[in-house]
């Protein structure tokens, strides 16, 4: 029996071009998100492809380090939120819990999901951040990598938290251990992004550099790690993975499942999903911005400018 591949014919057809893979001669594999027109928002097939590429890197003895990076203005804006990927059959008036499990766990943070494929990789993993690193890109990629190299003006965080409802994952154990308990909570309850510099001060980011130095700096760091003796590096990665298991940092909070599907806004609260379906994500952000107390995650200096 064959495993079903979820997605539309279109999104399935382009996934291989939207997530690129190459290995340099120095033992570094690059997984490059390549959907710049959508700030590299991750479709379901893109997430599946990430899982497959991490497995490919893990199986390749010549690869020592895996770098995640994005083409265009941003690293990644998170999961695609306005996507039809086959989640509703004709007779179903709304999404089933069965689909909720598939989407929330299997396609995201669960044992079979792409974020855990990253956190359990046998290789050293590095996230190279610029522009937005938002929502799932923040807690399912950046926070799952061993090292993060960031441009100073990156905008990192659960930026969707305030208008979509906090995603639950921002409360997870690994983020508490990376940022400290207060900052983890802060990213869950305010939409305020961290700059690369702030994320460095908190301990998420290993090196923070001007945007133009980001790629060469990451390449140099990845190269230096890859040049360490292979056996030694294998040992260190195994050592870290074991200790992370002991600290129970692997699985984010289960409530993410609820958030994705069933939150109900009160009459005076913004229905972000419905608004986004009507006027697009940008329009929904504008509608949110107009509300009292709202903080526009896009306000201020444009990343990369």
């Amino acid at each position: 029996m064959r495993v079903k591949r979820w997605g539309t014919p279109d999104s399935l057809a382009v996934a291989n071009q939207q997530v690129l893979y190459d290995v340099d001669g120095a033992g570094v594999a690059y997984i490059t998100l390549n959907r710049p027109e959508k700030h590299n928002a991750l479709s379901v097939p893109m997430r599946e492809r990430i899982t497959e590429l991490v497995a490919a890197a893990d199986a390749d003895d010549d690869v020592r380090v895996v770098v995640f990076r994005g083409n265009g203005k941003s690293f990644c804006s998170g999961n695609e939120i306005n996507e039809e990927w086959g989640q509703r059959r004709p007779h179903e008036r709304r999404r089933t819990l069965d689909v909720g499990y598939r989407y929330g766990a299997d396609m995201a943070w669960g044992r079979l999901g792409f974020s855990q494929a990253i956190s359990r990789s046998d290789k050293v993993t590095i996230a190279q951040l610029h522009g937005y690193c938002a929502a799932a890109a923040y807690f399912m990629i950046a926070c799952k990598c061993d090292l993060v190299v960031a441009a100073r003006d990156s905008r990192i965080g659960a930026l969707e938290a305030r208008f979509l409802g906090p995603a639950g994952a921002a409360a997870s154990v690994h983020i508490n251990r990376i940022l400290g308990m207060k900052a983890a909570r802060r990213t869950g309850f305010t939409a305020k992004p961290m700059s690369g510099t702030e994320a460095y001060d908190l301990g998420l980011v290993y090196r923070c550099v001007p945007a133009e130095e980001l790629a060469p700096t990451t390449r140099r760091i990845a190269g230096e790690i890859a040049a360490r003796p292979a056996g030694a590096l294998d040992f260190l990665v195994a050592r870290l993975r074991a200790a992370e298991g002991l600290m129970d940092t692997s699985v984010p909070a289960i409530t993410g499942l609820l958030v994705s599907h069933f939150l109900q806004p009160a009459p005076e609260e913004l229905d972000f999903w419905r608004t986004a379906r009507q006027v697009g994500v940008g329009g929904a952000l504008d509608a949110d911005k107009a509300r009292k107390g709202a903080a526009d995650p896009r306000a201020g200096k444009e990343p990369g400018s």
Partner: protein, 286 residues
């Protein structure tokens, strides 16, 4: 209840979706009594039950958030707890029950604040000692005044009898031990650098107002869902276990034996009064 006995006020603003919980015992540095802790918990119950309240702000009236718990109750709380006494010595179960009921247990102040279903914001001003520090640790967001100071001076008198899991997960292990053993008080800037507070402001009210507005614009479903995610991770990080351990160690420490040259706070308090004993035992923080 007289002013000296203190009170904890609750002000609800349903229009703006927020509640204010204010500690009022200015003459005593807002030191909390058990009665005030119970009042505080009752207010949290009200906040949790009111669907129009999304955010609760915790503050102290006057110059300090809270400079500790009331040391006059240090022994009395065990005497009053159910469990009996032998020759005026409260039973060990009475000591455990007293600490559990007022502070660390399911309905104790710290556990209850930590498990509030709404966003909690603490305004840290002046002395945030002992109880003041734990209110800081148990709330979601903390806005500190430039003059805020964080310490647990009582630990130097009797040893460490409070939760350590929140401290370790917030500021790290070696800094936790510095607070435990070195008799240190952290100023607001240090607290910010260590990750104990979210910001330091000359006018914290303005920043609190901004955060209240921001959090009040989150949908109710989102807030409560996120809080249950927080509760799940607190459990995974061993916070319940650490609270129980703090209760057991706290009760054990009430049996402390002092060496000849060691300072005995309760004896000092009996001999010279609470104010003098507090002054003497906190002098090293200045």
């Amino acid at each position: 209840m007289t002013t000296d006995d203190g009170a904890v006020e609750l002000v609800l603003d349903r229009e703006r979706h927020h509640a204010l919980i204010r500690i009022r015992r200015e003459g005593q540095g807002n030191r909390l009594t058990r009665a005030m802790a119970r009042q505080f918990v009752a207010h949290l119950d009200t906040v949790d039950a009111d669907d129009d309240i999304k955010v609760a702000v915790v503050e102290g009236a006057g110059a300090h958030l809270s400079s500790g718990w009331d040391p006059r109750e240090a022994w009395e709380q065990y005497v009053d707890a159910p469990g009996g006494a032998v020759k005026k010595h409260p039973s060990q179960r009475a000591r455990l029950i007293a600490l559990d009921d007022a502070w660390w247990g399911r309905n104790g102040l710290y556990n209850r604040l930590l498990h509030c279903r709404k966003v909690t914001i603490t305004k840290a001003v002046g002395e945030c000692y002992e109880t003041g520090l734990y209110l800081t640790l148990c709330s979601d967001l903390v806005v500190a005044h430039e003059n805020a100071r964080f310490a647990v001076p009582r630990w130097r008198n009797v040893g460490v009898d409070g939760d350590l899991s929140l401290l370790v997960a917030t500021v790290g292990l070696k800094r936790t031990k510095e607070l435990m053993y070195a008799g240190t008080a952290w100023d607001a800037r240090t607290a910010l650098r260590y990750g104990l507070v979210d910001g330091v402001h000359a006018d914290p009210d303005e920043e609190v107002g901004r955060l209240v507005e921001m959090c009040a614009s989150i949908m109710r479903d989102g807030i409560v869902t996120e809080k249950y995610a927080v509760f799940a991770s607190l459990a995974k990080m061993g916070v319940d276990h650490a609270f129980a351990a703090a209760t057991v160690v706290g009760a054990s420490l009430s049996n402390i034996h002092f060496q000849p040259d060691e300072y005995n706070f309760l004896a000092d308090q009996r001999g010279h009064g609470t104010a003098a004993a507090l002054e003497r035992s906190r002098r090293h923080l200045e």
